[in-house]
Amino acid sequence: MLKVWKMKKQQASDEKTKPRNSAAKIRIQKDISELDLPSSISITFPNEEDLLKFEVVIKPDEGYYKNGSFHFRFSISENYPHDPPKVQCTQTIYHPNIDLEGKVCLNILREDWKPVLNLNSVLIGLQFLFLEPNPDDPLNKEAASELRSNLQSFKRKVTRSMGGEYMDNVYYTKVTV
């Protein structure tokens, strides 16, 4: 019995001294090492010590947004993978599912997030938004209704906005390279 107490004490003191990586860090490290991305998606770490914050660039190789280079800031909360990654577009772009402040509407980043999803699935999902913008789940309602009602005009507006210019009093970031 005495020995059990001794062991318990030892365990408790181990707990205090053992340097612990947070669950979120352990998990994101795994996610990063398992990334299997197409050449159209790249990821960079501004601070290599901090794996919870990074930047992602998507260069769609087909679709309305071809030739664009779209930048996103990712931030992983300490509650990952129970909370989804936070994703913000750092440019002002014309897209039915991304508003002018850069908020992104993607089901797996919100209501359909599950902890068994990983970073790879989020990045592929984000790229998919540029290949198939979804007018039924809009954040930029004007762009969504344009996509639904007048495809030609939508395409023109996408191309114009990507070149970097004023459209309806909004200055869109130049995203073409």
Partner: protein, 85 residues
């Protein structure tokens, strides 16, 4: 011939009885390792199987089921989570 055994070192290997994959889909660590919130594997960090056949660390699945988003669904297949007895 006479042999005197001076010392022996015993080793043991243990594993949970599972039929399927060997990592927890939530934390992506081995079932035989502990969940990221625990320090020691084994009795204190057990695994649990759902009626759907998916297995997780008890702590991982409980944390998920307690979150608003989960709606009590298995994170793998979105079927209602029911603990297999």
């Amino acid at each position: 011939m006479k042999i005197i055994v001076k010392s022996i070192t015993a080793h043991a290997k243990w594993a949970w009885k599972t039929t399927t994959n060997d990592i927890c889909g939530i934390c992506r660590l081995d079932f035989e390792a502990c969940c990221p919130d625990c320090l020691y594997p084994g009795q204190t960090c057990q695994i649990v199987e759902g009626a759907c056949g998916h297995i997780f660390h008890v702590h991982c699945i409980d944390k998920w089921l307690n979150s608003e988003n989960s709606q009590n669904l298995c994170p793998m297949d979105r079927l209602a989570w029911k603990k297999l007895q």
